[in-house]
Amino acid sequence: MEVPILKQQHFLIATVQAALTDEDLLKLRDALVTRVGKARSRGVIVDVTALDVMDSFASRTLRDLAHMIRLRGAETVIVGIQPEVAFAMVQMGLNLEGVATALDLEEGLAYLDHRVKLTDFGDRSRRR
């Protein structure tokens, strides 16, 4: 199942609607990494509210996605991880290290706004 990617000003928003196969995940990753350059986006939000399982492949793909997008000069936030999913993930040792997370879409947008403002005034090369 394809994940729609919406452009919202400087940000891209990908909302996962249903459980994804490994292949779908890779497609999503590739699409976002490509689109972020084309659209000259400053941030990417991946909304996983609809997922009630997150296995090791999914979390590794999301982590890779975030790191790739950072290399392309933008920020990534994963939003909407369910409480049960979060706890199951850390029990399996999947903690999305180095990836920003937020409660929901609204929070994710607020976080990206904040980050973008920081980088506008600050030194871009100093970004983590």
């Binding site: 994963i78 939003v79 991880i81 409480p83 049960e84 999913v85 979060a86 706890f87 993930m89 850390v90 029990q91 903690n95 999305l96 997370t101 937020a102 409660l103 929901d104 929070e107 976080y111």
Partner: protein, 246 residues
């Protein structure tokens, strides 16, 4: 216990005993022992006392049988054949009734403790505190985590202060669970600050080598709340004389 009470109790014990011996049915005895346990457990009667008394009664009755039938060895033998299993069963019934009653009380208390165990409280917009008091076992730790994660969702919390001043000891399992809770909260977009680690707990954690590098810790609850307010962008200070902020 007053003298009348003792007499009444002794009479009913004797009556029940004799009834069980005569009829061979134990229902009345069972409900009597349950009823008795209900009354004596709050007085702090211990298992060994109850079992001791029942066994004593059994032996006293056996002695009286010996005394009565010592002339006729055959008859004594037959009587003992009938008496011993019944007497043992009586002892068994009373002891089991007592222990079951005690277990029921313990279960009820555990339930009660679990229910009032740990509130997740909102102290400011987007700031939750979770004061933990008493011992944490794996089951309680799990329940805490679930409550906290749900609380973060429901209150849209950004910062959570977990205060463990009231926790006397942590083992490595629970410590790791705490670390997992911190990570799971982060996945929901909340920062966790842990406060009130006692010197003993700090020592244990370092000695057993739990990785606490991902945990924000602040000395006490006040410090934790101040740190949380700073993270949320609050500035809290005393008002000047005119009621204006200084």
């Amino acid at each position: 216990m007053s003298e009348e009470e003792i007499f009444a109790e002794a009479t009913s014990v004797y009556d029940n005993y004799v009834e069980a011996l005569e009829t061979g049915t134990f229902e009345a005895l069972q409900s009597y022992s349950r009823n008795l346990s209900e009354r004596i457990i709050p007085r702090g009667v211990e298992t060994h006392e109850v079992v001791g008394i029942v066994l004593l009664l059994r032996d006293v009755l056996a002695r009286s049988l010996f005394a009565k039938y010592q002339e006729d060895f055959e008859k004594l033998n037959r009587i003992l054949d009938a008496y011993e299993p019944a007497a043992n069963r009586i002892a068994n019934t009373v002891a089991v009734g007592f222990v079951q009653e005690r277990e029921r009380i313990i279960r009820e208390q555990q339930e009660a403790i679990r229910e009032l165990s740990t509130p997740v409280l909102q102290v400011r917009e987007r700031l939750l505190i979770l004061p933990i008091i008493g011992a944490i076992d794996p089951q309680r730790a799990r329940q805490l985590t679930e409550q906290l994660l749900r609380g973060i969702r429901a209150n849209r919390a950004k910062v959570v202060v977990i205060d463990i001043t009231g926790v006397a000891a942590l083992d490595s399992n629970v410590a790791n669970h705490l670390v997992q809770t911190v990570e799971a909260s982060r996945l929901l977009g909340a920062i966790v600050i842990v406060t009130g680690l006692s010197p003993e707990i700090a020592q244990t954690l370092v000695t057993i080598g739990v990785d606490l590098s991902k945990m924000n810790t602040v000395g006490d609850l006040q410090g934790g709340i101040e740190e949380a307010e700073r993270l949320l962008g609050y500035q809290v200070g005393p008002l000047g004389e005119s009621g204006q902020r200084t």
